[in-house]
Amino acid sequence: MQTTKLVETRGLTKRYPGVLALNGVDFDLKAGEVHVLFGENGAGKSTLISMLAGANTPSEGEIVLNGEAIHFGSVADAQAKGIYTVFQEFSLIPTLTVAENIFLGWEPMKGPFVDHRAMRRRAREMFEELDFPIDPTAITASLSRAQQQMVEITKAFHGDLSVLILDEPTASLTDREVDHLFGFIADLKARGVGIIYISHRIQEFQRIADRVTVLRDGAKIGTVAIDETDEDALVEMMTGRAITEIYPTIARNPGEVLLKAEGVTTPGVSPASLEVRAGEVLGIAGLVGSGKSRLFRAMMGVAPRLGGTVTLKGHDITHAPTREIIKAGLYYLSPDRKAEGLDLAKPSNDNLALNLVMGGTGVSKAGFINWKTVRAESAKIADYVELHEGYRAKLVSQLSGGNQQKVLFGKCFGQDADIYVFDEPTVGVDMGTRAALYLLIKALAEQGKAVVVISSDLPEVLHLSHRMLVLAHGHISAELSGDEMTEDTVLKHFFDESGVTA
């Protein structure tokens, strides 16, 4: 029997000035299937779904819905045709109640006034039907991220839902919440809804996917049925190279303990103790929200420090201001290069220069700057991180994520440090750049620096670290080294408290 194609794209292409974001992609979705879109950041997944969702218009090619070519003028257009998208950035207004959010733009009216009672009642009915335990009168901001996602999904059920697009839906969910979501997706499949599912978590695919389409650099690499492929093959399709080519082997030369934390406490993290050694890469793994980043942010003085002591090379830095900690030799690379890493409206050169100037390069005793010296040094750093010369005078906002990350890495070579904490060092970065950044990490560790890699990307932590800590629900659930460091073991410790493994 031939299943009907709900949506189909033919030669879908999207061009931005200077960039081909999507290059002639053919894609189709059948009723009652889960079709996974898989690819690196920047591969074109978001561009593809933004056009299906009506948030963007194609430069070329067409979208065919139930056999007829259509043009979406807006997201509302697409929703009217039954295509609903749950984006990674939720479209919820945090200050409104849950019910108000669900009915935003569809408010039930009583004469000229909004009928709040009917709104709450209907929201409650919808939650019951979907089996979501959420109070419709709660203020949206007070919900957990998982609950907010449920609200977002509930919003999809106003109209006649035929296609549901989920963008990284499990990125911030706990295991139990993921189970719930998958159960829900199965129900939808049974109703004949087609689901486009974007995810990086390759281990989920076996559970829910019917077919997988892999994108790379804006082009479709292929579509495979899930029964006919395996994880390694998918990764190779995604990256265009084998895993061994990406991760370097880092020599391990454990030296003295440089950084020591004892009972460090911060909101969301129960007392945690750890040691960081010179010449070693310490990996920190855990789900989003496990506290792995917050623990180190507290040690840096960027998050509130509620208790414990932190010792850096024998000096107590528990209550030192961030700038003193940095000057003492602990460098922290922010996971969010746009919000707290880079000055986007400045050229790469100026961004690099800032750390050089703060580190005292080319600065006289009286505080005057010799820009010639600074420029020469920043050029050296740019060479070292392999930032192409054409990008150095460009504003950071105009660079790709990978090049921005190179600038961010470059900043940490402006000031002298002994310990480098890399928080999500390759988030939103293409494979080629990743490999380059990993080599920088390797060089640091082999020079005898202490390196900490905090990452939600499990293969990254597994391959880079000599020793690793796993965090779950704000406490260190395991310390692993050598042969213990396998994906299965780590995953088990991810969900330490719920006791369920993936």
């Binding site: 931005y16 000055d343 409206a345």
Partner: protein, 336 residues
């Protein structure tokens, strides 16, 4: 990646100039053409020299305002700092001139220092509020400007302080050195110092960094709070210097000096390409921006535009400048 920016096509030379320096060259050209057409006296050497001399005060205040804008805030209390300086320094000079009738310059100096002190207090309070209590700069400096204006009026009972030492007004108001008016010389000196400070010192770099991305600055070992304090205090100090020069010019301490200067200085900065989001701005352009504002006022005077209409036009100019600033920012961030 916004849609609008994609539609703007290849950058012509006009657009490149706009992106590089902002709207100022276009406004300046427009003003020159319009006022030359309206009045034959406008484009004369004498008039332009006159404008340069009149613009000293706004140039100074605008440089202070620029510092605060680059740090990511803005200062509505510059006018108050001027008024407070005027009243305090004039009162002090009159008092000390009575105490040391034989050492007039000592009295002038003591008075000036007290004026600086009063303004520094204004800057200090602004800085503490913004840096340590996270009060929005708008509310903080608006509140402080009311407090300061109230104090200035209270101190004098609303009556100008007269009887200043003649030497003060003769030197700093009307004096010339090497044929150049003293206020102009002081302004030139400030411009040079400010230029060096912003482009050649670590502290200047820190102010740019804090305004560009305060979190990134924090993670680059910058004391962000101290940097913000510095910006507000230097701004108040420069306003105070302006207050002294104005006091010397009017030869009395007046609580109503600097009434419109907050708006004018912000307009001068924005027109000169200082970003309201912080992090971007150049001293030399701001000097030109302030000159432009005074030029427009002068042109309107020559063209016999009423002072009420001048207020209207100044407001319109400010809003236009902000709109162009937004456009420019959008072009910069989208790349092309």
């Amino acid at each position: 990646m916004s849609e609008q920016s994609n539609q703007s096509g290849a950058g012509g030379p006009i657009k490149r100039l706009f992106v590089k320096v902002g709207v100022l060259p276009f406004f300046l050209l427009g003003a020159l053409v319009i006022f030359t057409a309206l009045s034959s006296k406008f484009l004369t050497g004498q008039n332009l020299v006159n404008v340069a001399r009149q613009s000293v005060y706004l140039v100074l205040v605008s440089m202070g305002q620029m510092l605060v804008l680059i740090s990511g805030g803005f200062d509505l209390s510059v006018g108050t700092a001027i008024a407070l300086t005027s009243v305090v320094s004039a009162s002090a000079m009159v008092f000390f001139a009575g105490v040391f009738p034989d050492a007039i310059w000592l009295a002038v100096m003591l008075g000036a220092f007290m004026g600086f002190g009063a303004a520094l207090l204004v800057g200090l309070v602004n800085g503490i509020g913004v840096a340590y209590f996270d009060v929005s700069p708008f509310i903080m400096t608006l509140g402080v400007s009311s407090v300061g204006a109230g104090l200035a009026l209270f101190l004098t009972g609303g009556v100008p302080v007269s009887g200043l030492p003649f030497a003060f007004g003769d030197t700093f108001g009307f004096g010339r050195l090497w044929g150049i008016p003293v206020p102009v010389l002081i302004a030139l000196l400030c411009i040079v110092v400010m230029w060096v400070f912003m482009s050649r010192t670590r502290l200047g770099t820190q102010i740019y960094a804090v305004g560009g991305n305060i979190k990134a600055a924090h993670l680059s070992a910058i004391n962000t709070k101290r940097t913000l304090m510095l910006a507000y205090m230097v701004c108040a100090l420069i306003a105070s210097l302006t207050g002294l020069l104005l006091t010397a010019r009017v030869e009395s301490g007046e609580a109503n000096l600097g009434g419109t200067i907050a708006l004018e200085s912000i307009a001068a900065c924005v027109i000169a390409g200082v970003s309201l989001r912080g992090g971007i701005g150049r001293v030399e352009n701001v000097v030109l921006g302030a000159f432009f504002i005074v030029l427009v006022q002068n042109g309107m005077n020559l063209a016999q535009v009423s002072s009420y209409m001048q207020m209207v036009l100044l407001g319109v100019l400010l809003i236009l400048a902000v709109i162009f600033d937004q456009l420019r920012y959008r072009i910069i961030m989208s790349g092309r």
